[in-house]
Symmetry: C2
């Protein structure tokens, strides 16, 4: 064979090989090819997991579900131990084992397309886990539970003889010895937590199952139960009570140590335990994600707790064109986790401890990460360090070796904050409603923009910026936050801080305007429609701009806060209020300042605001 032919042959083979590789490595897999059909109502969990594993092994680029209903049961599901931020329960070790509907482990360059399918989950399950994935997209998928762990019921009749509860058809119950028991597909509710929805005011407030739990129950007809409640007990007829178990033994969807993850046109219609938890993941896009009940179910709650929970993520978090309605906690929560120094092992070695009972055991530091050393009392990041090595010595404790010696100024109880794993955040064009807590809870040292959103009757502050090295240990000071062009409608009717629509409230004990925690927060061109006095509460913030905003008086709810101040500043500096427009009989029109000189407040172009 001549050299030339050898060359031609080689080139041909190379082309063929490359084509075959392409065919092998960029194919689309449909579950239909594996004989899984929609609308069978059968458990597909184990079969789908095999197909997923196959898709990952084949390096498929697309996994397709023909449109229809698919049912997932715990039977045959992967059980795996995951330490998930804000969920663990010290007493119940079993809560760490997740029952996983679909596990994507180390999947790369894969789009999962549901074509508008409905995935119905049963029992207590974590619907999807993305573990160490990269370039993964979930699209056109609706996720719901046959029997949510939330039990919903209406006060159908309230009288001297007691209360008749009309129970939502999806809420299974038994009555045993006159006691109503909430149960579902393999569980019952034991640690009760109640939230009540006012069907006329559209508000959500903490409520209680205790009275019903202590009263004799008698079934009148299927899903209508009479309770011999005490004569003084008079809930508002027509309101809806929603009751769940507080134990967060699963989460809705878990994204863990992954990169470039997108959810688009996804409906999360019920999530048990906690919602979509993203943990130590880089770049997450949530686009047209609906966290709300499916209308046809006539339910009002879609999650036991937060809808989207980001813990220790980095890169860019984008939440755009999403809808959030019906959570027992914050729709969006972005934070890190501070670990407390408990022992200085060496000049460059510290033993650190996860402090909160619900957040521990996960990987919070990686070699090369930049950290901040934080004074717990002042929340001040006083020094930086770089992680050399991480040694996990227990679920609670880690030993970190730093590249250099740790600062000598470290005090007892000081914390270490992982600065590498903090994200840029864009939250845009979303709709927030029907939550008893906040709309957005956010702390990141990087750029954060919250714009063009509507916040309709969130129970507490529509936006809350905390930062704490105590309590939840969810760090840390923000340095660049823009809140613009949002509409806030009748928010903060059940809490604040100070019942303010926007709250900035770090946990530092002494508010000293010379030692700010947060800095550079701009609140611009928003519309605040509110029935009450407080609009903004801020503590220990430097460089706070409130500019071009409109405040409109609403009369849908009575004013109720003890805080009668439109603006409340505590230990802040370089505060500017400019061009505030007011419409209607706006309450207060006043500014409270404390722990700071007046010189740190500049009011321009606004109607007269009394400084108190």
């Amino acid at each position: 064979m001549s050299r030339f032919f050898k060359f031609i042959l080689s080139v041909t083979l190379l082309i063929l090989f490359s084509l075959v590789s392409q065919l092998t490595y960029s194919q689309s897999i449909s579950i239909a090819d594996f004989g899984v059909k929609p609308d069978t109502y059968e458990n597909i969990t184990p079969r789908i997991q095999k197909i997923i594993d196959e898709a990952i092994a084949r390096h498929s680029t697309e996994l397709v579900f023909p449109k229809g209903r698919y049912d997932f049961w715990p039977d045959g599901a992967i059980r795996a131990k995951y330490f998930v931020s804000n969920t663990s329960t010290e007493e119940e070790d079993s809560t760490k084992t997740k029952t996983i509907g679909m596990l994507f482990k180390k999947a790369k360059n894969l789009t999962i397309d549901g074509n508008g399918s409905l995935f119905i989950f049963h029992g207590k399950m974590t619907t999807i886990v993305l573990d160490q994935c990269e370039n993964l997209k979930l699209q056109n998928i609706h996720i719901d539970f046959e029997r949510p762990t939330m039990s919903e019921m209406r006060y159908a009749k309230v009288s001297e003889q007691g209360v008749d509860l009309e129970i939502h058809p999806d809420a299974k119950y038994s009555i045993s010895n006159g006691q109503l028991i909430w149960h579902g597909e393999g569980w019952k509710t034991s640690h009760f937590h109640g939230v009540e929805f006012d069907t006329t005011l559209k508000t959500m407030r903490y409520s209680d199952w205790k009275t019903f739990n202590g009263s004799r129950a008698t079934q009148i007809s299927p899903n209508l139960v009479h309770f011999d409640t005490p004569s003084g007990f008079k809930p508002k007829q027509g309101n809806i009570l929603t009751v769940r178990d507080i134990i967060r033994d699963q989460v809705g969807l878990l994204i863990l140590q992954s990169k470039n993850i997108t959810l688009e046109d996804v409906g999360m219609h019920y999530m048990h335990g906690l919602g979509i938890v993203s943990q130590y993941t880089e770049n997450i896009t949530m686009h047209r994600v609906t966290c709300a009940p499916r209308e046809e179910t006539k339910r009002i709650i879609a999650s036991s707790a937060d809808f989207m929970h980001f813990s220790g993520c980095r890169g860019q978090i984008t939440i755009e064109d999403c809808k959030f309605s019906g959570a027992h906690d914050d729709p969006v929560n972005v934070h890190g986790t501070n670990l407390r120094m408990i022992e200085k092992m060496d000049n460059n070695r510290l033993k650190l401890r996860f402090m909160h009972g619900q957040s521990y055991g996960f990987n919070a530091f990686f070699a090369g990460d930049t950290v901040a050393f934080v004074h717990a009392s002042s929340m001040i990041r006083f020094e930086k360090g770089i992680v050399k090595a991480v040694e996990r010595i227990s679920d609670r404790n880690v030993i970190i070796t730093f590249q250099n010696v740790v600062p000598t100024g470290l005090e007892a109880n000081d914390c270490v904050e992982n600065m590498t794993w903090t994200p840029q955040v864009l939250i845009k064009n979303n709709y927030f409603t029907r939550t008893n807590t906040r709309g957005i809870l956010l702390t990141t040292p990087r750029k954060a923009v919250i714009e063009n959103n509507i916040f309709y009757r969130t129970g507490m502050s529509a936006i809350l910026i905390e930062a704490d090295a105590e309590g939840w240990y969810e760090s840390g000071p923000v340095r660049d936050v823009t809140i613009r062009n949002n509409q806030f409608i009748d928010c903060a009717y059940q809490g604040g801080p100070g019942n303010a629509v926007i709250g900035i409230n770090p946990s530092n004990k002494i508010a000293d305007f010379k030692k700010p925690v947060h800095s550079n927060i701009r609140i611009e061109n928003n519309v605040f429609t509110t029935f009450d006095f407080p609009v903004l509460y801020a503590k220990s913030t430097e460089g706070l701009v409130f500019s071009g905003n409109t405040i409109i008086r609403s009369n849908t709810l009575p004013p109720q806060s003890e805080n009668k101040k439109m603006f409340y500043f505590n230990g802040c500096s370089r505060v500017e209020i400019s061009n505030t427009k007011m419409s209607g009989d706006v309450l207060g029109r006043n500014i409270n300042i404390e722990n700071m000189p007046k010189s740190n407040l500049k009011v321009t172009g606004s109607k007269k605001l009394a400084i108190e």
Copy 2:
């Protein structure tokens, strides 16, 4: 040490050892000792199975469940392949794999005491399997399903605009594109079978889901659905339609190749596929077993098919003080299985074949068994043989080697009946109602007594004695049956044979009184309350006594049978009717005989009966 002391020491050690052995081997195990609690609504299947295995390994004599509710899910259940009589489906091999709630394999001398507990099963499961057990007793247990595979619904409103169905709260459904889909915990109904309960007449008749399946469904409110049925469709308002899938992919409870099995104070409140199936088991006692829905569920059906099905059992079967209400097929069915000869391999070797699509694959012959060779056409057992060896060559076919040469008279299609595996039967003090088919279906060559029972509106004959070597191939001629002191009330309104309250109807093609199939059947001192003509239909029976019975006219239903004969005898011999008392406007008072001379009928001491 003196010899005496050595002796004393030995004796003492022996006594101690024996005591310890006793403690070890006769103990009672409570599931509470293993941390399993009632009323958790959690899935206990895998944990209970471990305890069962432990109890069997320890030779425990008692396994105790503290009173309460226990939930069993397919998750973690043992899956095992069992060929069960009258259930297999050729097309669907998967139907042979049973999902087992509790498997007792080779358990001996064990009582399982539920203390009145309620075991709730989920999905499609075989609740309990007793495989090769001996001296095993189940007591004080109630078994039910959360979502039975039977869907029950009431014709709430029947009008020109269609039919509104009020769906039982336990019957889950979806409406998709105007089509109602019945589904449950991991399944949906595809092969529909309907039975309708007339709520005023208390009768059950075959009905149809087809009309609803073809009509547009619209939900009015939860569990109330309107169907645009054709204008001519006018079911009786208030009646209850019950719909199931005909595939028998599980059974209620399976007793297999066991000995001395007792069920006492057991409630089987729903069973899917087929009921309690006893197969090749010796000595079974059913005492105070209630096969009926739990009253509080307001359901009317408790089984997809037969309640108690005995196939190829031997020794004594006793069914006493039981209640049977709400089956889609016969409450009690006792039979064997004839295999057809398909090839003579040798003088003493035959290849045999299971002929019915639902019954095959199980062990039907054991070495040492006595068999009868049966002419298929005449049903006559013309010769005996003894099994030497059994070779299973496929699910369908076995090769039997006999101790002696097989009879030369064997004709094509002749059958082999296993005579060793036939039982004595006592069915006493039971209550039978709400079935669209028979009360008791029975064929055994040994002594059978049916006494002191009440049969209230069974759809077909209250008691049917068949025998066939065609169709179901459920052998064989009876030789000693006593039916006495029973009450039959308004039975056989939807079928017979000949709509007779008692039917004797072997499958032989030519009824020749000289070649009887059955013999020695005595029907004595019973009370027949009936709205119709037929009381007794008998074919090819020798030695048939109908003595001391009372027939009372009832007017609850209109007479409807085309058979206008009180007694119908075809090819019978030595028939005696004596001392028949009649009360009220009893219909017919006549006797039809065919294929037999009058001399074979003797009527004495009865009111005038016309022989036709």
